[in-house]
């Protein structure tokens, strides 16, 4: 027994020594010979393999990827590190909606001097997200998430429904599917996914924040968002759409066993479906998002992120060099799309890197054509400096509404979101108009 404990202790101490020396070279800084070490926090899968392509060709600037759990934990850690004055990486994957928060906390640097000329390579909506409409540039767009509608072609075929072109048709399809089989739903209203709801509001023409002179405006409770909330509240109250959150084991089971037969998602959905509902391969198809007004097609985004340089980086110039390569170099774009499984934001990515459909949708040759079309019609949408507050208010308020299954509670939840967001901004000292 004592020997065993002793052995374990010795092994542990060895590990400790190895680990500590190992982590030293992660901490960034210059080693002998002018070689620059950069750390990059990202949650995209296989990003380390994408970065290998850079490291092979750039012996002077070595990039180490630290895999993060996702957008929220990464931002949490970055903000804590900024507050503490040390511990931040040089380069950071940042979701578009977090950029105002990060800028406001002085966490990410303005790289307009180094990267201002890249504007032409990206769609306006993505470029606007990294500039916040100003002269500054707070990162280079990495990926985007135009929303699309995924559905089970076999179920639609059996019931002789065609993919809905409008939201009215979507509601009809939902009713038809649910009345044919009481266990089946065309979708679910997820109170745990504010990004999803924001994308749908964006499509309807909402822009939740805005800048007027030197003050912010907050328009979460506007007519467009009211329309979206009322629409979903109605479907949930009617009982033809489920009210449970996405991304739970239960939801996965529902995708697998065919009780969820549709998903309003974004261009990255095939990866999620393949991972969580592999048994349904070949039965899904994708279509454009249903429209409010087919004469004026509009789109929304769910997900998407930029690569930014943090204010704690001591090697801004080299860091910008790296993120420029990552998001514009054809080889890097190919690796991002093929290896890291993301939909690059750069406009020429569709033609160079995305030539064949994702494996899970092998039969749908026009997959990326639909995605490109969806990306083009995205409405402009501005995020504010306290998106986290608004989003957590969304979780709580819409959670209650979804549980109550009352349409009025859905539109009421928007008022709660609006007032929580505004009062948080005012308490912090932001100037808010209106």
């Amino acid at each position: 027994m004592r020997k065993a404990i002793g052995g374990a202790l010795a092994a542990a101490l060895l590990l400790l020594a190895a680990g500590c020396s190992g982590s030293d070279d992660d901490s960034g800084g210059t080693t002998g010979g002018g070689k620059v070490e950069l750390t990059y926090w990202s949650w995209a899968p296989n990003m380390d393999k994408v970065v290998e392509g850079w490291n092979a060709g750039h012996p002077d600037i070595h990039v180490t990827v630290n895999k993060q759990d996702g957008g929220d934990p990464a931002v949490t850690k970055l903000l804590t590190a900024i507050k503490a004055g040390s511990g931040a990486p040089d380069v950071m994957q940042a979701e578009y909606q977090k950029i105002p928060t990060l800028v406001s906390a002085d966490a990410i640097a303005d790289v307009a001097g180094e990267a201002g000329t890249l504007k032409a390579k990206f769609p306006d909506s993505a470029w606007n997200a990294v500039t916040l409409g100003s002269e500054s540039v707070y990162g280079i767009p990495q990926d985007s998430g135009p929303m699309m509608f995924y559905y089970r072609a076999d179920v639609f075929g059996k019931l002789q429904i065609s993919p809905p072109a409008t939201w009215d048709q979507y509601a009809d399809a939902a009713r038809k599917i649910h009345s044919a089989n009481r266990k089946q739903y065309l979708g679910t209203f997820s109170a745990n996914d504010p990004g999803w709801f924001a994308g749908l509001a964006q499509q309807a023409g909402a822009s939740w924040w805005g800048v007027q002179g030197d003050s912010w405006t907050v328009n979460i409770n506007d007519a467009a968002t009211q329309k979206v909330a009322g629409y979903w509240g109605g479907l949930v109250q009617e009982g033809v759409i489920a009210n449970t959150p996405m991304y739970t084991p239960d939801w996965n089971a529902a995708l697998n066993d065919g009780t969820q037969v549709g998903w309003l998602s974004a261009v990255w959905a095939p990866g999620v479906l393949e991972g969580n509902a592999a048994s349904t391969k070949g039965r899904w198809k994708v279509a454009a998002l249903p429209q409010w007004d087919p004469a004026k097609p509009a789109g929304g985004n769910w997900g998407g992120s930029a690569t930014s340089v943090t204010t704690q980086s001591k090697h801004k110039k080299q860091a910008v060099e790296f993120i420029t390569w990552l998001n514009t170099d054809p080889a890097a774009l190919k690796a991002l799309a093929g290896t890291a499984n993301i939909y690059p934001a750069a406009t020429d990515a569709t033609s160079t890197a995305l030539t064949s459909p994702p494996a899970f949708f092998a039969d749908q040759k026009d997959f990326y054509a639909i995605a490109a079309e969806a990306g083009k019609v995205s409405n402009p949408f501005t995020y504010g400096p306290n998106v986290n507050v608004a989003y957590s208010a969304y979780n709580d308020a819409f959670g209650k509404a979804a549980e109550a299954k009352q349409s009025a509670a859905f539109t009421g939840a928007l008022a709660t979101m609006q007032s929580t967001t505004v009062s948080d901004m005012k308490t912090a000292g932001f100037k808010v108009a209106g």
Binding site: T76, L79, T80, K83, P100, T101, V103, S104, A105, D106, L132, S134, A191, N192, V211, D214, S215, W216, N243, T244, P245, Y247, T248, P249, D250, A253, A254, D257, P385, N386, N388, V389, S392, N395, D396, F398, G399, K400, A402, E403, D424, T427, A428, G429, F430, K431
Partner: protein, 324 residues
């Protein structure tokens, strides 16, 4: 953390030093005890004392933003007085979360300790061959971290996956949705009970074993039933142990965090401010308002002290008493 062990009172009694045992008596170099304490005090100061003081400091500061808040100079840290405290205490989510915790404690503490006491008495009574097996099985959950325990129960709670729902459905009953607003509190409480019962059982069982066998034997000869023996002899003797397990369960209740946090993504009914500690988490990490988080932390810490010491005073326990 769901459980903190309680110390059996027997130890307390014997810990009372006898005259011969009386330490030191000024005979030694006076630096010695400090040297022994030095590592503990250094670590205590660095990782408990300083953070607590720092939290107190943060709770009376605030960050003031001006204008759009986008420039480096638009952010100033300043003195806040007690404004963070008034903000926290008047937050419309704060009192409901305190009420929820009180209700949660009313469910968890009696059920967990009642179950632990029942199992300990049954094992100690020696009326079943299953005692040894049950003791191991019931203790097993203590080895499962709260995050993993919540994850496992989370799966078991979901109607499409739960074997319990399968059984109920095949019996023609409809399984309740455990994440609905009327059940969710019990769903979280169940995980805490599951994780904590075994440990408390071991503590109480250990205390029961210190009771001399003759005591029960004599009562039995006088015609007392097992239940009477349990109620009149065993429980009074281990009462101090029960009190200590109660206090530590109470502290754990006030600190419930990991279970609802892990279940939250599965349900509509667990809000970001479901418990006071979740509110701390929300303020610190979601709202990026470390000052409000610090103020809530201080409030929770003070309440914990008041409750646990108040209770010990009330029952007159000398569990935390020093022997000199």
């Amino acid at each position: 953390m769901t459980t903190l062990p309680a110390v059996t009172p027997a130890a307390e009694r014997s810990a009372v030093t006898t005259a011969a045992d009386r330490p030191g008596r000024g005979r030694r170099r006076s630096g010695t005890p400090y040297a022994f304490l030095a590592p503990a005090l250094m670590l205590f100061t660095a990782f408990l004392g300083a953070p607590v003081v720092y939290a107190g400091y943060l709770s009376v500061r605030r960050v003031k933003i001006s204008g759009l808040g986008l420039g480096r100079s638009s952010r100033v840290e300043q003195w806040a007085g007690l404004s963070n405290y008034t903000r926290v205490l008047t937050d419309s989510e704060f009192l409901p979360s305190v009420g929820r915790i009180a209700l949660y404690g009313l469910i968890v503490v009696p059920l967990m300790l009642g179950g632990a006491l029942l199992m300990a008495l049954l094992i100690d009574g020696g009326r079943s061959r299953a005692g040894g097996f049950a003791r191991t099985a019931i203790f097993l959950p203590y080895a499962v971290p709260a995050v993993i325990a919540s994850l496992l129960w989370g799966f078991l709670y979901l109607p499409r996956i739960s074997p319990i729902a399968d059984v109920l459905n095949s019996a023609g009953l409809s399984a309740p949705n455990v994440f609905s607003s009327s059940w969710v509190l019990y769903a979280v409480a169940n995980i805490a009970i599951w994780g904590g019962m075994g440990f408390n059982m071991i503590v109480l069982y250990t205390a029961l074993r210190t009771i001399p066998g003759e005591l029960s034997e004599a009562a039995r000869i006088d015609g007392a039933s097992d239940v009477q023996i349990a109620l009149r002899i065993k429980i009074p003797v281990i009462l101090p142990s029960l009190i200590m397990t109660f206090v530590f369960s109470l502290i754990a209740t006030l600190q419930v965090f990991a279970e609802p946090m892990t279940l939250r993504p599965l349900a509509n009914t667990i809000s970001a401010t479901w418990t006071p500690l979740m509110m701390v988490y929300r303020d610190a990490f979601i709202r990026n308002d470390i000052h409000a988080a610090a103020a809530t932390s201080v409030v929770i810490a003070v309440a914990t002290f008041a409750l646990s010491f108040g209770f010990l005073k009330l029952v007159g326990s000398r569990a935390f008493r020093q022997e000199d």
